[in-house]
């Protein structure tokens, strides 16, 4: 079962629908027991980091998430869900994240005025190392991004792909069974569906 953690922020139907496109058994839930029972776990996220992580904690989901990740279940964070994997964020005050990956979330401030904020649209996801999530993707694959904050001070060991927006930003990160994508695979057409399929078939 692909288990999408639904902590009440944003419409998760698109993510659910995209996963259903690649695998039939998908569930959306905030039930800690169902999270513990997941064989693939998905942490979505839109809007503000603080509101998202607070909702995850208030619903008592941090513990079941950490336990599930600890038993090596493939786990992916999407957009703000990816950002929550890191230690902290400075979006509207300081917030602590799940701390599964080293690094912190900071505001995008490109020096080039032609680079608008938010970073919104289709940008190239450039691999920096091999990873099963990238399997079968074309070299110049573009994915849909919509964000104003990014993961900084990411350990080079965890950096799988970058996207260029004034400087290279982490687009895909990974550490053992933990994955994160800054873009929206569920909105990235065939490329995004391929990435979700790659995740869904991880052993």
């Amino acid at each position: 079962m692909i288990t999408i953690i639904d902590y009440g922020i944003g419409n998760l139907r698109s993510i659910e629908r995209a996963f259903q496109h690649v695998r039939p058994d998908v569930v959306r839930t905030d039930d800690p027991d169902l999270i513990r029972a997941a064989d693939h776990l998905v942490l979505p996220g839109v809007g503000a980091f603080g509101a998202c992580i607070q909702e995850v904690r208030q619903r008592g989901l941090e513990q079941p998430i950490m336990e599930t990740v600890a038993r090596q279940v493939p786990f992916i964070g999407i957009c703000v869900g990816m950002q929550m994997l890191f230690e902290s964020s400075s979006e509207q005050g300081m917030h602590t994240g799940l701390g599964l990956l080293k690094g912190s979330i900071k505001e995008l401030r490109p020096s080039d005025p032609s680079l608008k904020i938010p970073h919104m649209g289709w940008n190239v996801v450039s691999p920096v190392k091999h990873n099963p999530l990238l399997s079968g993707l074309p070299a110049d694959a573009r994915c849909y991004f919509a964000h104003s904050f990014y993961a900084s001070d990411v350990s080079p060991d965890n950096l799988v792909a970058v996207t260029d927006y004034g400087h290279p930003l982490p687009a895909i990160v990974a550490h053992n069974n933990i994955y994160g994508v800054q873009f929206h695979p569920e909105k990235s057409h065939d490329v995004g569906l391929r990435i979700l399929a790659n995740f869904a078939t991880l052993a």
Binding site: G10, S14, V46, G47, P118, G121, W122, N123, D164, Y165
Partner: protein, 254 residues
């Protein structure tokens, strides 16, 4: 390699059907929204915009269904606008499956709505739509209510204010050009590019591939919205992308 300029077909939807008018009047039927969304999705459109031009309560329900069905089948971003007045209206559209919601008249009436929506759902899903007409003395004035009501508000000042209040994107329509197919208002686009940090979607006037190119290169818009030229199959999205690519513009090729 850099971020791609976006090509966005816009579907004006009236009671569940796509329609198109010239300068906001003389509507003609242009097909089924879901069918068209499918075609655009497979042709390589980067996003879709649905503008609900039905004023009635009943029409609103139909629009939710159209959005829901489209979001079930299309894996590219979907923006929905038209008649969004409150946080609740926005929430309903997002829950029907829209990724972003465009707010127009209501934000002008109540500018606080912008920060309210951005705070609740994130700036990335708040698109401020602005309909502007050139003033004879220079500059642009905002019109609301589908382009029927002049407001006396300066278009550029409002664009700046929308940014400061937390909008994620601006969708700017030149009413002088809308439906005319004589090209975008390039001076307006340049003025906006110099003024705001937000991505600007150019709208109103697209008729040829050169118009798209000019809005992106000369107007420095981040995305171009077009309706008539795509609906009536004058060009396909693929042809547009190929043309822009050949003109040296970064686009997503599929």
């Amino acid at each position: 390699m850099s971020i791609a300029k976006r090509i966005i077909p816009c579907l004006d939807v009236d009671r569940g059907r796509v329609v198109k008018g010239i300068q906001f009047v003389n509507l003609v039927d242009a097909g089924d929204p879901l069918e068209q969304a499918h075609v655009y999705n497979s042709e390589g459109a980067d996003e879709l915009v649905f503008l609900d031009i039905t004023a009635t309560h009943e029409g609103r329900g139909i629009m939710h269904d159209v959005v829901r069905q489209t979001a079930e089948q299309i894996f590219i971003p979907l923006t929905v606008g038209g008649g969004i007045r409150t946080l609740e209206d926005m929430w309903q559209m997002l829950h029907a499956g829209a990724d972003k919601v465009a707010v127009n008249s209501a934000a002008i009436k109540n500018p606080g709505l912008i920060s309210e929506c951005a705070g609740a759902f994130g700036a990335q899903c708040v698109v401020i739509a602005i309909d502007m007409k050139r003033r004879t003395e220079g500059g642009w004035e905002i019109y609301t209510h589908g382009g029927r009501r002049p407001t006396g508000i300066d278009g550029l000042e409002w664009a700046k204010e929308a940014e400061e209040r937390g909008a994620g994107e601006l969708l700017v329509t030149s009413m002088d050009r809308d439906g005319t197919q004589i090209g975008y208002d390039l001076e307006l686009l340049q003025a906006l590019d110099e003024l705001v940090q937000l991505p600007v979607i150019a709208s109103g006037g697209a008729g040829t591939l050169e118009h798209l190119r000019d809005a992106l290169l000369i107007g420095r818009a981040h995305a171009v919205l077009a309706a008539s030229m795509f609906h009536f199959k004058q060009v396909t999205i693929n042809q547009a992308k190929q043309f822009l690519h050949n003109a040296g513009i970064t686009v997503r090729m599929t």
